[in-house]
């Protein structure tokens, strides 16, 4: 179906692909796994015609395949579903799904046919929020992802490339997506599937290829390998323990007290106390109000009622994020590209911007100090970077996330509010981030960690609460929870 051999691609001095060989059978779901920066996204872009390889060949159905543009790839039956959603918010669901394939007569849109076609596609993936005439800009994230997947279905692609399609989907949508993938598969469509969740990969994929440092280092049937063996191939060394030793038990001192904070409609009620040295996990479904809780604490979402005390001092409800930051709160956004980092600015500016005081005198930046402090953090978190002055944009996702966390560490925040700190990043980076979080907590910081990945909550947290439809359950010690009881609380059972 699709055969790749000896693909190579370099960007300046960076080698992104260094010999990739993959063979796909019709009707196969093939998992492409590897750490971030291993070259998976570059490979998908090469297959999808967005990048031309420097060397190597591709074949589709035995015929040479060398797309010169995404359009050419689309004509050859190859569709890429992007990791970063690529939809037009001002257009309707139907217009987005059928973009590039609009039914038309001599340039005039056939609106009725468009609606009909969109409805037919939507039927196969019934989602409550999706109506053909709804503007995509008004849809929740999960529904937008569905629109993007339907676009590939609409193009009648024979090879569908999915780059982390589930990273922002709640579980019930993942189930729907998998049902759709199985149906595509049954009709002979080949699917290349990238995901960081090995459990998920096992659920949906038949075979796998591991990429490491731009090379395909292993492939085979998923049924025949263990997770440990896969992880070892991905990182190039065995991973003994994903999680560091737990931070020491928290002290008595209350760092943050949250009393019945509400920011309707997303957040109805949240109350908890965070002690010095405590790592508090917040589980729950995507869209349950977890992010809004964190944002309300940081003053990014207007709270309607309730009270937040930091170090025993009450924060005004309208206190600005800057004031909250000065009170000791530090915030890591789940939206790294949108609001987490200034991607065009240097690593040094990104890391030191919340506390320029440390590297400036009377408003004048001291470049040397800024560079040294940045270097220290880059070392602490093992960020793969050439220089403190390179733009954040040039790093891989995992390394960008480390930089975002480094900013909180540099800020020396007492309270770390972390929203999905390891979302969409590779295992090696996850390990570094867990280590840094635990280390901060053992030195006396309080941490609130929102996550969709239960193993990490169980791996590093002291205590846990679950968000369900805008309400936070009481906090209980981590040992009192099981994955099942968390899930039950999350779906409101």
């Amino acid at each position: 179906m699709l055969a790749l051999s000896g693909l190579r691609k370099r960007f300046g001095a960076t080698v992104a692909l260094d010999g990739v060989d993959v063979n796909l059978a019709p009707g196969e779901v093939h998992a492409l796994i590897g750490e971030n920066g291993a070259g998976k996204s570059t490979l998908l872009n090469v297959i999808a015609g967005a990048l031309a390889p420097d060397a190597g060949t591709m074949q589709v159905n035995g015929a040479p395949y060398a797309p010169t543009s995404p359009l050419a790839a689309r004509h050859a039956g190859v569709a890429l579903i992007h990791q970063e959603l690529s939809l037009c918010p001002h257009l309707t669901v139907a217009e987005n799904v059928l973009m590039g394939l609009e039914p038309a007569h001599g340039g005039w849109l056939d609106r009725a046919a468009m609606r009909r076609e969109a409805l037919r596609l939507l039927e196969s993936f019934s989602h409550p929020d999706l109506a053909p005439d709804r503007l995509v800009g008004t849809l929740p994230i999960a529904a937008r992802q569905v629109v993007e997947i339907l676009r590939a279905v609409a193009a009648k692609a024979s090879i569908v490339l999915m780059d982390e399609p589930t990273s922002s989907l709640p579980r019930e949508d993942v189930t729907r997506l998998f049902a759709l993938i199985r149906r595509l598969k049954a009709s002979g469509v080949t699917i290349v599937y990238i995901s960081h969740f090995l459990e998920e990969v096992r659920e949906i994929a038949d075979r796998f290829t591991v990429l490491r440092d731009g090379r395909s280092v292993a492939s085979g049937a998923l049924a025949e390998v263990t997770n440990d063996a896969l992880i070892a191939q991905m990182v190039g060394r065995p991973v003994d323990a994903l999680f560091p030793d737990r931070a020491p038990a928290p002290g008595e001192e209350i760092l943050v007290e949250v009393v019945d904070v509400a920011a309707p409609p997303a957040l109805r009620k949240a109350a908890f106390r965070l002690r010095r040295g405590e790592i508090l996990g917040v589980a729950g479904l995507v869209g349950s109000g977890r992010t809004e809780t964190i944002r309300a604490l940081m003053g990014l979402e207007p709270a309607e009622s309730g009270e937040v005390r930091v170090h025993g001092r009450r924060l005004a409800r309208t206190a600005s994020p800057a004031r909250r930051l000065a009170a000791g709160l530090g915030y890591l956004s789940e939206d790294r590209k949108g609001e987490g980092l200034a991607l065009n600015l240097s690593l040094a500016d990104n890391i030191t911007c919340t506390r320029y005081r440390a590297c400036s005198t009377r408003g004048w930046l001291r470049r040397g100090a800024q560079r040294d402090q940045t270097k220290t953090w880059l070392d602490v978190l093992a960020v793969k970077a050439r220089s403190p002055w390179q733009a954040a944009r040039t790093l891989s996702g995992g390394n960008q996330q480390k930089v975002a966390l480094a900013r909180l560490l540099h800020q020396d925040a007492d309270v770390l509010l972390l929203d999905e700190p390891t979302k969409g990043i590779d295992i090696g980076s996850k390990v570094e981030i867990y280590r840094a979080i635990v280390e901060r907590a053992s030195r006396g910081a309080g941490v609130v960690m929102v996550s969709s990945y239960l193993p990490e909550l169980f791996g590093v947290c002291h205590s846990l609460a679950v968000m369900c439809r805008g309400r936070l359950t009481p906090v209980r010690p981590i040992h009192d929870w099981t994955p099942e009881s968390v899930m039950e609380a999350a779906i409101g059972g």
Binding site: A50, S69, P70, L71, R74, H75, L80, H82, S86, L87, C88, P89, H90, L91, E95, N96, M99, G100, E102, A104, G107, W108, L109, R111, P128, D129, A131, R134, L135, G137, T138, R151
Partner: protein, 326 residues
């Protein structure tokens, strides 16, 4: 969910009617302040305002397309001067009025295509590319006009944008009817053709459109070229009103045109904007100008008021949108 969709549809309707409400407010306030409201609201004055609006309104049709696609064109004022001079030179040299008009319009299209090519092939931001063209087109106009105004013989071209048309059953100048007709045609094109939806798609998320196989570069050239035809027609109207080709005319007109689109709900971030809104925006500014003149206020007051109105209109638009959740 159904209620929510209905709510935002209602909200969208309110947002799209808002520019019209603003226009009525402007007219109403001046009518109340005027010593002679019946004069301000007279058919005669309405004709004056409409005839004055034609140049900006035609430009705003083209500019709406450009702004919806996420672009901008700063060269319109110069393009109006250049196309006006081209038309005048041909009329002076005794070409037929139709040929002269066609040459002016085509020249506008050519300037637009050059803008589009600079943006797509040289990868220059629209702001910069058209800023460059602002100088080039103005210079070309002066060169072509030998640094002077070009006088034209009396032809029907001079009657295109007059206040009192003949025959009188036309009620308003032929240029006004032409503008109205073109506004309707282009509204349909933007809403009901593949090209029109591509314009919105590019402004909404260019990367997504490209990934879907939309030939974004070609469409951008087409957008600037098509908009250029409208700027060319604006230039013809400008020449018609002055009854001469003046290479120094219309300095800063592009800003009036951009303001009309923005007052009418267009977003400089792309993806939003309607031609109907832009027409209302153009009328709002024309009524403001006319109103301040009728009141006998000095020109500088008029400039200050229009400046403030532009900012307030856009600010009010933002507030309404966030309330309506659209």
């Amino acid at each position: 969910m159904a209620g929510e969709t209905g709510g935002s549809r209602y909200g969208r309707l309110l947002v799209s009617l808002a520019p019209l409400i603003g226009l009525l407010l402007v007219v109403g306030i001046f009518a109340l302040m005027s010593d002679a409201p019946d004069q301000y609201l007279s058919v005669r004055n309405l004709r004056i305002v409409l005839a004055q609006t034609v140049i900006v309104a035609l430009g705003a049709i083209g500019m709406t397309m450009i702004i919806v696609s996420g672009g901008i064109d700063l060269s319109v004022g110069s393009s109006i001067a250049l196309t006006g001079v081209v038309t005048a030179v041909l009329l002076r040299d005794n070409y037929s009025p139709m040929a002269a008009i066609a040459a002016g319009v085509v020249m506008g299209g050519a300037v637009g295509i050059l803008n589009g090519l600079a943006i797509t092939t040289l990868k220059v931001l629209p702001f910069i590319a058209t800023l460059g063209m602002l100088g080039v087109a103005r210079g070309a106009a002066k060169w072509l006009g030998d640094q002077q105004t070009v006088n034209v013989p009396a032809t029907w071209v001079n009657e295109l944008a007059v206040t009192f048309p003949s025959p009188s059953w036309l009620l308003v100048a032929p240029g006004v009817w032409l503008t109205l007709m073109l506004a309707i045609v282009m509204t349909v094109v933007l809403l009901r053709t593949v090209f029109g939806r591509r314009v919105f798609a590019i402004g909404s998320n260019e990367a997504a459109a490209r990934a879907c196989g939309v030939a974004t570069d070609r469409i951008k050239v087409a957008i600037y070229g098509l908009a250029g035809l409208f700027f060319g027609l604006s230039g013809v109207m400008q020449m018609s009103r002055l009854r001469q080709g003046d290479p120094t005319v219309a300095i800063g007109t592009e800003l009036d045109i951009i303001a009309a689109v923005v007052i009418g709900g267009g977003s400089l971030a792309g993806g939003e904007g309607t031609i109907a809104g832009a027409m209302v925006g153009a009328l709002t500014m024309a009524f403001l100008r006319n109103g301040t003149q009728q009141m006998g206020w000095p020109n500088y007051i008029q400039e200050i008021i229009i400046g403030v109105i532009i900012v307030l209109a856009v600010a009010a638009d933002r507030v309404r949108r966030s309330r309506a959740g659209v």
